[in-house]
């Protein structure tokens, strides 16, 4: 940076100053630190997109801290303005650093290797002696030796200079350019992609249109016509859990046996497993969850079936203690509702009823019952997993609240004449349907980036020189500090140009001599 004596900077100069600062390596380093620091809280503080329940719990337990965190976006770090600011600056810094270097690199490719320096003895490795060959022959021999080893050679009057390892800077640039493409792929995916999930009970089906999703999010450029038409019938969901002593209860196998049809095609049997999603064109269907759905029948006091079918319950712990609500709004004279727990392997002890194993070895349904005057259908959405108790009173008999437990096949008679039958249970599976159109670009760019990275770290640029004259001199230097085999190369080249037992022209210095044309180069951008 040129300094001026207190002369005020013009706007253009100021912008130029900012640009130079932003694209300097020092700034890149600071931005890398900032990025690392800013990313860290997201792995320690609960994040809303990952686990909203834990965020709510955190705010409840630490109200003051929670409010502060919420205000500065610490519950959603990766969508916060300051995180975006850091990575955008990093991206600009990267592009600003890389573009001029691409120009420099292209110019370097067009230019032959540098002229032979005046004093080869000042290079980190050099030998000198009397050659057995005539000067011209020696230079010819040097040229053929160097060309065979894929050096770029420049012949001068009395000397040869050569350089190899251009791929290092190429790899370096390739790596950094690929990073831009990785980000472009991510941006593409988040603009045009979508992701939705749906819970499907065994025996039910899902068709890919917006109305069928339980939750759905899409990028700004998404158009519902992008949804590939397909239908999935979930016939059976198999879940196996560890029965042995070690890691008892751990998941072992999940398989959804399905039939699928694309568009109006005929159904084809298929399976979905955890690492084996289904694909329809660019759309993937993943298995991301499962649980239990008790199958119940509610018969009202008039003997009419008020509700019948499976009810999806949500698992609350690793042993699938599941919570849900059975609703019979059409029951008469009073509508009915039940708050229930489904326990796949039920145990009642001092902790109360809970499940001790995730598989359904001793399934039981624990409920209490509510009733109220029939309500007009309002169309107002309400949770299917919990009971809205407004206008409902809990059923009781002889002054005691009614609660009961049922095994499959059992029926309970409720005060007032209604019945609840726990007929059976089914499993449900949560399917995630997603389209990530930028994925091939992102992964392709990552592959290229890793290749470039390897080139930039493992290719060793090297320059070798031969000068003939009274004494024949051979010297070399490495342009990155990976001086392995430089002495060997210099000795071999010396032998090739006819120096019989080449002695070092001097003790090799540790640092390449301060010849400005041959300063050791920086390793990375």
């Amino acid at each position: 940076m040129a300094r001026r004596d207190a002369a005020p900077l013009s706007a253009a100069e100021f912008l130029r100053f900012c640009w130079t600062q932003l694209t300097s390596m020092r700034t890149a380093l600071v931005l890398l630190f900032a990025f690392a620091l800013a990313a860290l809280p997201g792995s320690l503080i609960p994040q809303r997109p990952v686990n909203p329940v834990r965020v709510t719990d955190f705010i409840r337990d630490n109200p003051t801290l929670g409010r502060f965190y919420d205000a500065v976006g610490l519950f959603d770090v990766y969508a916060s303005w300051w995180f975006a600011g850091i990575y955008l600056l990093l991206l600009v810094s990267l592009v600003g650093c890389i573009v001029p270097r691409i120009g420099t690199y292209v110019r370097a490719l067009r230019t032959p290797p540098p002229r032979t320096p005046r004093r080869l003895s000042r290079l980190p490795e050099s030998v000198a002696g009397a050659s057995a060959l005539a000067p011209g022959e020696a230079l010819d021999a040097a040229e053929s030796w160097l060309t065979k080893r894929r050096f770029r050679v420049r012949r001068q009057d009395d000397s040869v200079s050569a350089e190899r390892g251009y791929l290092r800077e190429f790899g370096n640039l390739l790596f950094h350019v690929s990073l831009v493409f990785v980000l472009a792929g991510i941006a593409w995916s988040s603009l045009f992609g979508y992701k939705g999930s749906v819970i499907v009970v065994e025996g039910q089906a899902f068709s890919n249109n917006l109305s069928q999703y339980d939750d759905f999010s899409a990028g700004g450029a998404f158009n519902p016509s992008q949804l590939v038409p397909f239908t999935i019938w979930v016939d059976r969901f198999d879940a196996k859990f560890e029965l042995g002593r070690a890691q008892r209860g751990a998941a072992r196998q999940f398989t959804a046996h399905v039939r699928t049809a694309e568009g109006a095609g005929a159904p084809v049997p298929s399976t979905i497993e955890v690492n084996h999603p289904l694909t329809f064109g660019g759309t993937s269907v993943h298995l991301i969850g499962h649980g239990y759905a008790p199958v119940v029948t509610v018969t009202d006091a008039s003997g009419q079936t008020a509700f019948s079918g499976p009810v999806v319950f949500l698992p609350q712990d690793g042993n699938f203690t599941s919570q849900g609500a059975i609703k019979a709004p059409d029951a008469r004279p009073q509508r009915l509702g039940f708050e229930c727990f489904f326990l796949p392997t039920a145990v009642v002890d001092e902790r109360g009823p809970h499940s001790v194993f995730p598989d359904a070895f001793a399934p039981q349904l624990f409920c209490n019952a509510w009733s109220g005057a029939p309500r007009q259908e309002t169309g107002r959405p309400e949770s299917v997993y919990s009971l809205d108790k407004a206008g409902l009173t809990q059923l009781s008999q002889n002054g005691r609240v009614v609660n009961f437990r049922l095994e499959p096949g059992q029926v309970v008679d409720l005060p007032g004449g209604a019945k609840l039958e726990f007929r059976d249970w089914k499993r449900w599976t949560k399917l995630q349907v997603s389209s990530t159109p930028g994925l091939p670009l992102t992964f392709g760019a990552i592959v290229v980036a890793v290749t470039g990275l390897c080139l930039s770290l493992f290719v060793r640029p090297r320059r070798l020189f031969v000068r003939v004259g009274e004494r024949t001199e051979v010297g070399g230097l490495d342009r990155a500090d990976a001086r392995v085999g430089l002495a060997d190369d210099v000795a071999a080249l010396a032998a090739a140009v006819g120096l019989p037992d080449a002695r070092p022209a001097h003790e090799p210095a540790h640092e390449p001599a301060g010849d400005p044309q041959h300063e050791p180069e920086k390793e990375d951008a």
């Binding site: 890398l32 792995s43 997109p49 998941a251 690492n275 592959v447 890793v450």
Partner: protein
């Protein structure tokens, strides 16, 4: 042999390797302890005695290497038996990850010591191996068990082997960087004594650390990329800011900063070495802290 018996022998082999590494550490300690007179430059220049001293010092070093070899054999036997007992690749939980990663570290140390003449690595690496294997068999140990469905994938082999190998190299690199920090301070104070006199000078240490990190960094990049591809298959998203993912990225960024720092005026030398130390701390935090303290999709410790 039943799986239980094989699991037991595997455990026994791991314990044995920890003990042998400890003895190897003692041998390397004897190497530099006996070399102290040599490096200080004895007052009487007695050539015969000096050469006898040198032989003795060298003998301890070679004993250390031989013991490390034996320890590694037992260590590898433990890993293989564990795999046979579980009938799967033996890197499915924290205990298994530590043991496999340390096997990589031991193998890398032996190669570097015997092929590249970096025997100074023996002392710190056997210390790392002893502590690591010791912690593995006492704190991290869990019985052999099959894998959860999310791990039924070829990426289970690719992603985790790469993670183990890069972890091993980051640790060796950190050893070199820490020694670099200690040695540059000693050089500045003019008091390079004891073990420090037997490690390469600071410039060579810095270069060694750079090469090890330059090897580990692309491997770590690959680990994260492979994990991301696997996550797309298993969880339906290639990146979800899971605590383990985030911390891996932070580790990656710190090492990227290290590589940049080595090429930036004002950051070369000690600041860059400190970055390498921060990098390995973040790697360890990602492994121990995230596994045990934070719940996420990578919670596989099973402890």
């Amino acid at each position: 042999m039943t799986a239980d018996v094989m699991g037991y022998y595997s455990f026994l082999a791991m314990v044995t390797s920890a003990v042998i590494y400890l003895v190897a550490f003692a041998a390397f300690s004897a190497e530099w302890a006996s070399a102290r007179n040599l490096d200080a430059g004895g007052h009487e220049p007695d050539a015969a005695r000096e050469s006898a001293d040198r032989l003795r010092v060298d003998k301890y070093g070679r004993i250390g290497l031989a013991l490390t070899c034996v320890g590694l054999l037992s260590h590898v036997a433990g890993v293989v038996l564990r795999g046979v007992a579980g009938r799967r690749a033996p890197w499915g939980n924290m205990y298994e990850f530590v043991t496999v990663s340390l096997a990589f570290a031991a193998a890398a140390m032996l190669v570097l010591a015997m092929r590249r003449g970096q025997r100074w690595l023996g002392l710190p690496t056997t210390l790392l191996l002893t502590i690591g294997q010791g912690l593995a068999v006492t704190v991290f140990y869990v019985d052999v068990a099959p894998l959860v469905p999310a791990l039924h994938s070829v990426w289970f082999v690719v992603h985790i082997v790469a993670a183990c190998a890069s972890g091993a190299m980051f640790n060796l690199g950190a050893i070199a960087s820490v020694l670099y920090l200690i040695r540059t301070r000693a050089e500045a104070r003019g008091g390079v004594r004891g073990y420090l006199a037997r490690v390469p000078d600071s410039r060579a240490l810095d270069r060694f650390a750079y090469r090890v990190h330059a090897f580990a960094f692309p491997l770590w990049t690959f680990t994260i990329a492979a994990g991301s591809i696997w996550a797309e298959y298993a969880w339906g998203r290639y990146w979800g800011w899971d605590p383990k993912e985030t911390c891996s990225l932070v580790t990656w960024v710190v090492y990227a900063a290290y590589l940049h720092a080595r090429a930036t005026a004002g950051w070369q030398g000690r600041p860059a070495a400190w970055l390498a130390v921060v990098g390995v701390v973040s790697f360890w935090f990602n492994f121990v802290g995230i596994n045990l303290l934070v719940s996420g999709l990578h919670s596989y410790a099973g402890i």
